[in-house]
C-alpha cells in the first residue's frame, strides 16, 4: 500500500472510531512515517477545534423560561395552511418526476428490446416493401373507437390478422401515429372514395392526391436485429433469413448496406 492510501485509511478509521486489529499495519507505518503522523495529528487537532467551535455556539444556551408559554400560545393560534404556491410546486415536481420516470422506463424498454423506430408508409407495409416485417399496419380509424393518432395497432386490437399470426410474421410493434387530420376535414369520406380509385388502374392521379395528402404515417418499432437491409438490386432483404437457407459464412462480406 502506498503511504497516501495508508494515511487515508488511517484517517478514516481514526475519525469514525474504527481502529482495530486490522489497523496494525497502518499504525506500524505510522511509527516510521513523519508525514502520516503530521497528517493524523492535524486531523485530530482539527476535530478538537471543530468540537470547540461547535460547543461555543451553544455554550450555556438554553431555551428561555417562557419557551413553554410560547409553545402554548402558538398552539392556540390557527394551524398554518400550506400555501397554494407550495402545493402547486409540489404537484408540479411530482408530475415532472413521474413524467421523467415514464420517459426513462420507455427508453429502457426500447433499449432492452433492442428495437428502433422506423417510419413506414402504409403502402410499403401492405406491399411488403420496406421493413422486412410484415406486421399488419392498417392504421386505426375513428370507427375502431380510438383516435387515429397515437394508437398502437397490436395492443389496440385494430389488426385484422389474429395475434398468433402477428407474432409469427411480425415481431415488430406497429404504432400508427398518422398524419394528424385537421378537425372538420372529411378524412373518412375522402379515404373511402379514394380507396377504390387506388385499386382501379385507370384512376387518375388527381383522384389519388387526397389520399396521399392524408396518408397515415405509420411508425414501427422494429427489432434492430431485424433491421432491413437492401441487396444491390434494391430488394429489401432481412437479416433474419429463413432457417432452411444456407447460412452465410461470417468471413464472407455481405453485399448489402444498411438502410438510411
Amino acid at each position: 500500500m502506498t503511504c497516501r492510501r495508508i494515511c487515508r485509511e488511517l484517517l478514516w478509521q481514526a475519525r469514525f472510531g474504527e481502529l482495530g486489529p486490522g489497523s496494525a499495519p497502518h499504525l506500524e507505518h505510522l511509527t516510521d512515517c513523519r508525514a502520516c503522523r503530521d497528517e493524523l495529528g492535524f486531523d485530530r487537532a482539527l476535530v478538537r477545534q471543530l468540537r470547540t467551535a461547535l460547543a461555543a455556539r451553544v455554550e450555556g444556551a438554553s431555551p428561555s423560561p417562557q419557551a413553554w408559554e410560547g409553545v402554548l400560545a402558538r398552539m392556540a393560534g390557527p394551524e398554518p395552511r400550506p400555501s397554494r404556491l407550495r402545493a402547486w410546486s409540489t404537484m408540479l415536481v411530482a408530475r415532472l418526476r413521474f413524467g421523467s420516470a415514464m420517459a426513462g422506463a420507455t427508453l429502457a424498454i426500447v433499449l432492452a428490446l433492442n428495437v428502433e423506430v422506423v417510419p413506414v408508409r402504409p403502402s410499403d407495409a401492405s406491399s411488403g416493401v420496406g421493413p422486412a416485417t410484415t406486421a399488419p399496419s392498417r392504421p386505426l380509424t375513428l370507427a375502431d373507437g380510438f383516435p387515429q393518432a397515437a394508437t398502437s395497432a397490436p395492443y389496440g386490437g385494430a389488426t385484422d390478422a389474429p395475434p398468433a399470426a402477428d407474432a409469427a410474421e411480425a415481431p415488430a410493434l406497429t404504432v400508427g401515429v398518422g398524419n394528424h387530420e385537421p378537425e372538420g376535414l372529411p378524412m373518412r369520406a375522402t379515404t373511402a372514395a379514394a380507396a377504390p380509385a387506388a385499386e382501379d388502374e385507370s384512376s387518375t392521379t388527381v383522384a389519388a392526391a387526397p389520399v396521399q395528402a392524408w396518408e397515415p404515417l405509420t411508425v414501427r418499432l422494429v427489432p434492430a436485429d431485424a433491421a432491413v437491409v437492401r441487396a444491390p438490386s434494391g430488394e429489401p432483404v432481412s437479416e433474419e433469413a429463413p432457417s432452411d437457407e444456407e447460412p452465410i459464412p461470417a468471413s464472407t462480406p455481405l453485399p448489402i448496406s444498411a438502410p438510411s
Partner: protein, 211 residues
C-alpha cells in the same frame, strides 16, 4: 476512539431516550404529558437550532414550532420509538428554511460581544491564535452545505453515533461518513497554510496507541 469515548454535549444518545408513555398520553390529549415531553427534549432540539442558526431568538422560534408540530401530528408518532430523531429532523428542516429566507448571514449580536470580551487569564498570543482558528472554523461551518453542516452538528456536537446521525439525516451510514469527510476537508482548506500542520503532541499520543 469509540463513540462512547467521544465528548458529548447531548446528555443522552437517541437509543437511551425513551419516550415511555409520554407519546401515548399525548395522543390521549394529555397536556401535562406534552409539557413533560417538551422538557425532556427541548435542550437537544434547541442546541441543534442554535448551532445552525446562531441566533437564540430564531432558535427558540424553531424550538416552539417544532414542538407545536409534534403535538399536532401526535397521532402519527410511534410510541415504541424515540421521537428524538424525528424532532431533530423537523428542527433541522425548520432551521434551514429560516436560514435560507434570511437574505444575508448577519452575525448575531451575541457573537460580536463574545469577540470583544477577551479572557484575561489566558496569554494574549494564545488568545489571538485560538480565536483566529475558531473564527475561521465558525465561518467555515457557516459556509458548509446544509447536509454537511447537519452531519457535523449531529456527530461532533451532539455526539450521536454514525447510525443515529444517519437515521436523523435520513441517509445511510456510508453517506454520513462521506459528508463528515468532505466537511472536514472543506474546513481544513479554509485554515491558513501555516495553521494546517500543528503536529505538536501527536507523536507521543500515537506511540501510546501503538504500544
Amino acid at each position: 476512539m469509540s463513540n462512547s469515548q467521544r465528548g458529548r454535549s447531548a446528555p443522552m444518545p437517541v437509543a437511551e431516550q425513551h419516550a415511555d408513555d409520554l407519546v401515548e398520553r399525548m395522543q390521549g390529549d394529555d397536556l401535562d404529558a406534552f409539557e413533560e415531553f417538551f422538557n425532556a427534549y427541548k435542550r437537544p432540539i434547541y442546541a441543534t437550532a442554535l448551532a445552525i442558526t446562531r441566533d437564540p431568538f430564531v432558535a427558540e422560534e424553531v424550538l416552539q414550532d417544532c414542538f407545536v408540530k409534534a403535538y399536532r401530528v401526535r397521532e402519527r408518532l410511534d410510541p415504541g420509538r424515540s421521537p428524538l430523531p424525528w424532532l431533530q429532523r423537523v428542527a433541522i428542516n425548520m432551521c434551514y428554511s429560516r436560514v435560507t429566507k434570511r437574505s444575508a448571514a448577519v452575525e448575531p449580536l451575541t457573537n460580536l460581544i463574545t469577540n470583544l470580551v477577551v479572557d484575561l487569564a489566558a496569554r494574549p498570543d494564545q488568545v489571538v491564535e485560538s480565536r483566529e482558528v475558531l473564527d475561521v472554523l465558525q465561518r467555515g461551518i457557516d459556509a458548509l452545505p446544509p447536509k454537511q453542516q447537519t452531519a457535523i452538528i449531529l456527530y461532533y456536537l451532539h455526539g450521536y453515533s454514525l447510525a443515529e446521525s444517519a437515521e436523523i439525516a435520513e441517509c445511510n451510514v456510508g453517506t454520513m461518513k462521506s459528508r463528515l469527510h468532505y466537511a472536514l476537508k472543506a474546513l481544513r482548506a479554509r485554515l491558513p497554510v501555516e495553521r494546517r500542520l500543528p503536529v505538536t503532541g501527536a507523536r507521543p499520543a500515537l506511540r501510546r496507541v501503538i504500544r
